[in-house]
């Protein structure tokens, strides 16, 4: 496979030039070397997202060299920090023929500042790396890891990933970036633009327009370093776990939790998940139910009983000074006692005890176990619209989604993550890639969910490569004026259209007509 409008001869020349920049061993183009970069959980359309080669630079200079070659031969590059965005496309590019720019080798932790609680990292640093560096050096700062600790700290923040600690809105903790633009120029955002300011990782805005957010979920530049705020280790924590038995409990759970979250009684975003979401991390579907049709309620209740779960399961995590946590725990308990006789299970932690009992987001990979739910070769896609933080919206979304999941032959597995002013409904389409019919239905279901959610004003906050155009099309106010702005910026910064064509539905001028 070749990039569009690039001849085999020119592509060969480009690869030779790239090898001159990064060294022969860091340009990969054999079938064997490219296979691991394919989307391991692809919803049946692997061929739509196949890379033509991989280039792995070790420095900003090498990135600039690669960009020069890419501009000369009009070869598109898809930057990936570590390529572990599993369920959203992994390390595969949006457009087949794109060359992957694998930044895994740029994996230095450039700075950790204990007093001001931040780190500065390169894109190849994983959550495991950062966690081990902090713990290994006894630095009392906490990371916030997402479900997949194997992934990149930088990449996850750029894609606006989430964790369950108080710093779980990762994009909001970014402070300052270094970005290489398509023309090879190096930009430092915020206070970094002063060159000699110590404030780069400390004050987000600088002077004039603020660009950190513009380089997130976009294709405007290659982020080569990032300042990220870390959470100072608290004195203590309390983790309060609750299981509630009825499907209809969801509505009041959200309405009771929201004022607590808004007032800061709980500092992290609680996630209210259903039985199947948890069962899928611990077991396989066939253990509970042999039939292919969606699981009926009585089986779901059996699973809940066996795993000692409610229909809905969530926890509230309190971090800070012990006495304040105790007061907040009482406020949480009282708020729920007005609605249920079910009591919270409580786990307490104090500084000095093993961190794994603290309730913060530790790096792991256990959440990936969900792909085994249907057996065979697992795949998953996340459907993740945002809505106002009310019980009525939660219930409406839950009913809409569950109905469609079951119509298409899937179990509803999902939950609701509650922020201060939003509710993020994340459900997972779990399928067996060996089953073509099931995989096709997974794609059809996903498209319908996006469309129906958009009709109700619920927008997706991220999506798999295959649906980026679908989701971008739902953000359509003013005759798609936002997309037009995105495209105007794209054309100004990257006139040759070499950086990540099609990412988030943003196509460069050179490919726009063909892409539509």
């Amino acid at each position: 496979v070749l990039p569009p409008r690039v001849s085999a001869r020119n592509f060969e020349k480009a690869l030779r030039a790239l090898a001159g920049v990064v060294g022969d061993s860091w340009v990969l183009s054999s079938e064997d070397d490219l296979r691991p970069y394919r989307d391991n959980y692809a919803p049946g359309d692997v061929a739509s997202h196949v890379p033509s080669a991989v280039v792995a630079p070790a420095s900003v200079d090498e990135i600039r060299g690669a960009l020069k070659v890419a501009n000369q031969y009009r070869v598109p590059l898809w930057p990936l920090s570590r390529g572990k965005n599993l369920g959203y496309g992994g390390s595969a590019p949006r457009m087949s023929g794109t060359v992957l720019l694998d930044l895994s080798r740029m994996n230095r932790i450039l700075e950790v500042n204990e007093r001001a609680a931040y780190c500065v990292v390169e894109p190849g640093v994983s959550f495991f790396d950062l966690f081990n560096a902090l713990q290994g050096n006894k630095i009392p700062l906490w990371i916030s890891a997402p479900g997949n600790g194997w992934g990149s700290v930088v990449g996850n923040a750029l894609e606006r990933g989430i964790g369950q600690s108080p710093y779980g809105d990762h994009a909001s903790k970014v402070c300052g970036m270094e970005v290489v633009l398509a023309d090879g120029s190096i930009v430092r955002t915020g206070m970094g633009a002063m060159g000699n300011s110590a404030m780069w990782p400390l004050f987000r805005y600088g002077f004039g327009p603020s660009w950190d957010q513009v380089f997130m979920q976009s294709n405007y530049g290659i982020v080569t370093r990032m300042g990220l705020w870390l959470m100072p280790e608290p004195e203590a924590s309390i983790v309060m776990t609750m299981d509630l038995p009825e499907e209809g409990d969801l509505e009041w759970i959200i309405d009771v939790l929201h004022p607590l979250r808004l007032a800061g009684v709980t500092q992290n975003n609680p996630s209210v998940g259903n039985v199947i979401r948890l069962a899928a991390t611990l077991s396989q579907r066939e253990q509970w139910f042999k039939e292919k049709r969606p699981m009926p309620d009585d089986v779901i209740r059996e699973i809940a009983k066996a795993l000692k779960l409610g229909w809905w399961h969530f926890d509230v995590r309190l971090f800070g000074h012990d006495e304040i946590n105790e007061v907040n725990a009482r406020l949480v308990r009282d708020a729920f006692a007005a609605h249920t006789s079910v009591e919270f299970k409580v786990r307490k932690w104090k500084r000095g005890e093993p961190i794994m009992q603290s309730g913060t987001s530790l790096p792991g990979t256990f959440a990936l176990q969900i792909v085994n739910w249907r057996g065979g070769q697992g795949g998953h896609m996340d459907f993740s619209p945002v809505s106002p933080p009310t019980g009525a919206h939660a219930m409406k979304q839950y009913r809409m989604a569950r109905k469609r999941y079951e119509e298409f032959g899937f179990d509803y597995s999902g939950g609701f993550t509650l922020g201060e002013r939003h509710l993020n409904h994340i459900s997972m389409v779990l399928f067996d890639r060996n089953d073509e019919e099931m995989t096709r239905k997974a794609r059809e279901l996903y498209r319908l969910l996006v469309k129906e959610a958009a009709a109700e004003g619920y927008g997706e906050y991220r999506t798999h490569l295959s649906f980026m155009d679908d989701v971008a099309a739902t953000y359509n106010f003013g005759g798609n004026s936002l997309l037009k702005l995105n495209e105007a910026v794209k054309d100004a910064l990257d006139p040759n259209g070499i950086l990540a064509p099609g990412k988030q539905g943003i196509w460069p001028r050179t490919l726009r007509k063909d892409a539509r």
Binding site: L28, D32, P36, N40, G83, L86, F128, T241, L282, S283
Partner: protein, 120 residues
Amino acid sequence: MATHIEEGRAMKGKDIACLLIVAAQIVWANSALADAPGQKVFEARCNGCHFRDGFGTYTLAMKFGSPRADLTARTDLEPAYIRQVVRRGLINMPAQTRVEVTGADLDAIVAYLTRPRSAP
């Protein structure tokens, strides 16, 4: 400690919170024990999933039973098979790229997993 793996499919009543706590603990325990070069490479590249209570170990235990779950304790792994699984993936294990697990890394991992051991 890792009783749920021995229980395999029967772990229905296990306290989930406890399970996840145990999982995180063992990443460290392994790191602290690292000494052989191959072991260090294995822990750096594979331990995200193949530590004792990790996703990989757990999946293997569910599918094939506990004796085949902990890779570091296996004595039946052939070098060619290890290379194939690393580069091609297996069931739900993603294939590993040559940028992340270099040829030298893979040699070290193979040497570690096939190291001579005295009989138990």
